[in-house]
Assembly symmetry: C5
Homo-oligomer: 367 residues x 5
């Protein structure tokens, strides 16, 4: 059963739910890519910008990127695909990324967190996009960022992300984004990630509303499985978002350090959004529990009704059938059988019994 999964080609090899540690046996800090994306080329994109200028490069080699390291302008290096470990390691070494940070960036099962390595901040989060069907509501990908004095390096597992509108804003200098520092760029990246969470939540909401409607039908046989599957995916999604709250709180505590004072209100706003996402997830879990309860109550009501019909029919006809059996016996000496109006008398008696029974059923409110 695969839920909020990374849509990697070989899901069997790594299972985020199992928190698998594929590097077991290697020393901590070994930069080996442990995900499963080895078949596509790694793509390096670079933005170097200030209020007045913007340089954008795509498909650069590692050396070319390193040249931008000491420019006074803000540099954003985006690495799409992590399987070319050599390239990643080269860049990391040039930018003096701590080996543990590099390891975390390359390991797609890292828990979202913020780590402080002297001159650099290392941030890992999970990017989530709405998936294709109800078995795969969210497509998850890990995004790690290194925030240095004048640069941000972002690591993604796969090409394709939620940062296109951010790129457009950089190009258009929308909201004067190019006036601000690399910490604001980090915020903008996180903001795009959290915006993606809202879209996933809407998908959950849609699934939930569909379930709510169908759960009213006590015969909908697959409700239990679907609730179970949705709950697992919700659980997993919550596990992705929950640590982000802590991580942004950690960032806020860096005020005055790597995070400038002007960026703090934006991060507080982001913190608020994460709280809101968590609020909604929690209320969706409650809602799911309530759906199950409602469905069981519907089922139980229907069972009651079915039983009542059975009981009414059986209780009406079984006694009557007894009487017909009684006078269907072949004893030679059964005087009633010879009575002229015996048959009619019996019909009358059975009519009375029926009326009495119906009255009693009505009094019991079974009819």
């Amino acid at each position: 059963m695969s839920h909020v999964t990374d849509n990697t080609p070989l899901p069997a090899e790594r299972n985020p739910a199992a928190g698998q540690a594929p590097k077991k046996g290697l020393p901590p800090g070994s930069a080996v890519y442990t995900g499963t994306m080895a078949d596509e080329p790694v793509l390096l994109t670079l933005f170097d910008y200030g209020p007045e200028q913007l340089v954008e490069h795509s498909g650069l080699s590692a050396e070319q990127c390193i040249a931008f390291k000491d420019t006074p302008t803000v540099t954003w290096i985006d690495i799409d695909g992590l399987h070319d470990t050599h390239l990643v390691r080269e860049i990391c070494r040039a930018f003096r990324v701590h080996p543990l940070a590099m390891e975390d960036a390359l390991n797609p099962t890292t828990r979202p967190k913020v780590e402080d390595y002297e001159s650099q901040l290392f941030v890992t989060v999970k990017m989530a996009r709405p998936g294709k069907d109800s078995e795969d509501i969210a497509e998850v990908e890990q995004v790690s960022c290194v925030l240095g004095p004048q640069y941000v390096i972002s690591f993604q597992e796969r090409p394709g992300d939620l940062f296109d509108s951010l790129r457009t804003r950089l190009r258009n200098q929308a909201g004067r984004i190019r006036d601000r520092g690399p910490d604001y760029l980090l915020h903008a990246l996180l903001d795009a990630v959290v915006d993606g969470y809202y879209l996933v939540i809407e998908r959950f909401e849609d699934e939930l509303e569909e379930l709510e409607t169908e759960a009213l039908d006590p015969d909908a046989e697959d409700i239990p499985q679907r609730v179970h599957s949705l709950r697992l995916q919700l659980l997993e999604f919550r596990r992705l978002v929950w640590p982000l709250r802590e991580a942004i709180g950690e960032l806020l505590r860096r005020e005055g350090g790597q995070i400038r004072k002007e960026t703090v209100p934006f991060l507080r706003d982001l913190y608020d959004h994460v709280l809101q996402v968590l609020d909604v997830i929690d209320s969706e879990r409650d809602r799911l529990a309530s759906v199950v309860e409602m469905h069981l109550a519907m089922t139980s009501h229907q069972m009651n009704e079915v039983m009542r019909v059975l009981t009414v029919v059986s209780s009406l006809f079984i006694p009557l059938t007894f009487f017909t059996g009684l006078y269907g016996m072949n004893f030679t000496n059964m005087p009633e059988l010879q009575w002229r109006f015996g048959y009619y008398a019996l019909l009358g008696l059975m009519g009375l019994i029926t009326i009495g029974m119906l009255g009693w059923f009505r009094r019991m409110k079974w009819l």
Copy 2:
């Protein structure tokens, strides 16, 4: 399914439950109204007062409002309707409202909170009024306030609010309200909002009592849905009120800053009221869970009773019917049939069986 909703004309476009982010892709801080109230005119009302004087204006233009900015008296500008972004932006710029605050005021899905922007406090809360029917117990509207040195600006989505009695008190100088500062005015606005919560809670209470009575009837078929609907609305209402607790706590920590010492006891009182509202919501949730449990137990009892009737009737007559069938057989050699009192003997036997069965049922306490 629509619950504790804003009664906006196009609910499909925004869903507070989904925590939709309709501004996705715009830079944070962009003042674009993301609600759905574009068809009514925006109304500006202004109160400017001191202990001795009161100036009240309605339907002012933005420029006219701005004239009151630097008066030594307290100024309250109330903006009803947010879709005229131009007007809102003009006022915000004149009063130097932070772009993020302006954005939050215009976005009707902001989480209740207090933000500190140097010289100003920005407060967002949800105003709730009892709705029209059991599908719509609370009508929710966002109210944001900016507290400056000598003014309060309040932003509402729609005309019509809970502030009428506050306006009357201002006009009548009731409780010497005009002697106090703008922080007390902020308190008075929040107090009116919390008073509205009590009314909503009473609506929930009424629904709950009705449900409690009806849940005693095990046949009431719509109990599960109604419980589900009430629970969703309660969940959503709780999500509106919960952050307010934190927000008022935040205000209390501003004592000595934007909040004067004399206003603190009033805010503490308000804090207490919010706690009480949350207490009641929580006990209503427990009560709802208890209603479900009670209803299920009633259903299960009834099922038991129905089954017992079926079992008693069947167990009584099925054996008797067997005997009638036995002597209804057409074997040529069945000596009992020729016995003179065979019929009466069988009637006697069946009578004994019946009495035995009834005795056993009574011993099992099924009768």
Copy 3:
């Protein structure tokens, strides 16, 4: 449905469960009595005492009370009934009680709390006494106290309280109570209130034990309602006691201020008692949940047994009846009917079937 209620004549007018705000629209701090006790006279009782002397007055007027304000001895003014707002207000003004405190004392839905108004401490608690029947386990009344430098003023809604033994101790100088200050008197009042909680808890305990016994009978049809009613009352009682914990903690933090060092161990003891009451309430809630579970399991067991009887009887006789029907048919060509021992052969066959069935039922452990 009325639960842990104040036994006021007009319960419809105020509902503590709904947390009704009957003063909506009045400015905060307006001293208007919002309870419903307008038909009995307000009674003022005054104790003025020191180690050596004790003055006790009953039925005083407000002015007479005020005369004791500045005596060096400890003064306890007890106001029984709050509807004579004029009198209450006069005393409050003379003793300079803060308007918000006066408002809280007059509003019977105030949450238990401690408020610090410069020279005075204001304490509100709920006094609970065992009620008359299982629908009304606790009678609740609000008691507020103002602790000043040398006096305590207590406000009660109704005559009749739990303070009689305290009065006796004052008269007899039992435990040298008259040697101590007004803070100890406040403690003694709260202690009497908490002692009342123990009595209420015992009533709950009694109800619970009765329920536990009756829940063993799966046919006891009113168990669900009674559990529901008891749970609501327990919920409400918990809501009364819970904030007291915080309130006494608040008092303890006043050590060195209005609360003398010698009184602190007594307050710590009281704090402990409140914790114990809350412990018991919580375990009673768990116990109640366990009762429901046990009752449902009993019901389910009985259903199982009923179904088994039905199944055994039906499965035994329905096949036999089929055979009797078979040989009751009127086909002209049915050779078995002419067989000499056909009837006896069939009886034998039916006997074998019966024995086989019984054996199988026994193997299934249904008999």
Copy 4:
């Protein structure tokens, strides 16, 4: 229903579950014994020891004990039985025990706690031993200790305790216990109490395993009651142990004061043991809940099976019986009856119906 009870002769008079306050009306600090052990003599035992010497006395009078108060050696006075209030009071007065501590020692419903009365520490805990049957898993007795500069006084309700091995260690100077101070003696007493908890927990564990085995039988009719009874006892046991955690934490905070630095690792160890006991209690509660769930699932499975048998038998034979009834009718004009092979044709038809039904049942996996 009596659970984890003190095995006092008159359980009706005091009920720890109800948190009864038998002293209601007396001033706080009144030393009146409120338990029920008035028929046995109070026993005083005294140990006075140092590294080199050990004095042990039994059956001393109060005066004789007091003589040891100011010796430089460690003195342990153990009071078994509290109903001789005069004697207890005499000792307490001689050792200057605070009236509230004396009251708590004499009241067997005191919550476990640590209180600091200037020169003395007062500790109350509950001693628990495995009881005799499944209705009485733990026998509880209150033990209070007063830790003074060079002495420990312990108060027990009844003779018989868990301290015998401690006495042996004192006599044998095992673990060099006599080299250490009175704070270590206090630790040793608490350690013996916590060791007793482990034994009680093992009793619970045994009961639980027995229940787990029996719950697999869906017909075990008393499972619900037994689970209920075990749960109540577990709840009550947890209420005894839970406050001890806090109390030992309180002791640890006295490091450097009444608790010497060398004793702290031992207390930390004890703290750990209490945590472990609480861990186990909590997992036993979860386990109990799981047992109930498992039992209900078993019951529900059996019901399903019973219903299936009924349905299969009824559905097979009721249609066949209809056909036999059909051709048992006495219409003069029923051509089939005259057919030569009518009877055999019908038998064939019925055989086909039966085979069809069985096939369908098999497809539905009901057989």
Copy 5:
């Protein structure tokens, strides 16, 4: 029933679930081995290494080990098997291990924790490996470590551990592990333990997925037991892991003391992994609860379906059978019997009834 157990030969003698205290009666700090591994020889392994050299010894005697105590290089002494108390005690005495630490190392039921004994840190954790079958998902063994200035002593109950890859790294100087201090060695040991948890979690995950698939079959009779067993094992595993979180937090607070600054990021990483393990355990518990719910819903659905078949068949044929009984009676005066088309008329009537019934069943959605 044996769950996440230590696979010791005599499980009856010690039961970690019962938190048994087999040393009851001995003074705290007595070094007596309380596990059950007395039949295999104790194995001492020693690594003494620096950046440039590595000495490895196996099967050393205690005296030989002690010789390495004061070398400037890092020394790791690994003791496999604790029953040779004499040997263990000798080493502990030579390395001045605190008696309580020695006791904890020898007692296999110690709760995971960190204790600070002046110059040494003492750490106890539980090592878990995947077990052999679904009744024994995790094999647990206690590992204790003493971290001194230049050495680490590790105590294990049994030969065989998860440290082989660590030994290989030491031999190969992989990750430059030999350049670091003994605190890093401690980290490496803990890291290997936590890596083992991931493997156990995967085993749980596998069991869970199997259960999820089988729970869809409402007839799978052993689902309740298997869920119960899995839940107990999960509970117990959680109890092992939970205190580790706290313990590593404790280690982190030793930064600058026994833990060097360079080791802190590695420990933070480890802390993160423990959090992740706990996250997964919690979501597995939720998942298990969801499986039960789903299975019950499936069972309930099937019951509904079975009941419906019974009701449909009975309700169809019982009335028809009544009619056949009616005209099977032997009254002399039953005119219908003589009608020429009486039989056909009745067949027609019964056909109409059948059609009516089927229509009604279809309208009720029972067919």
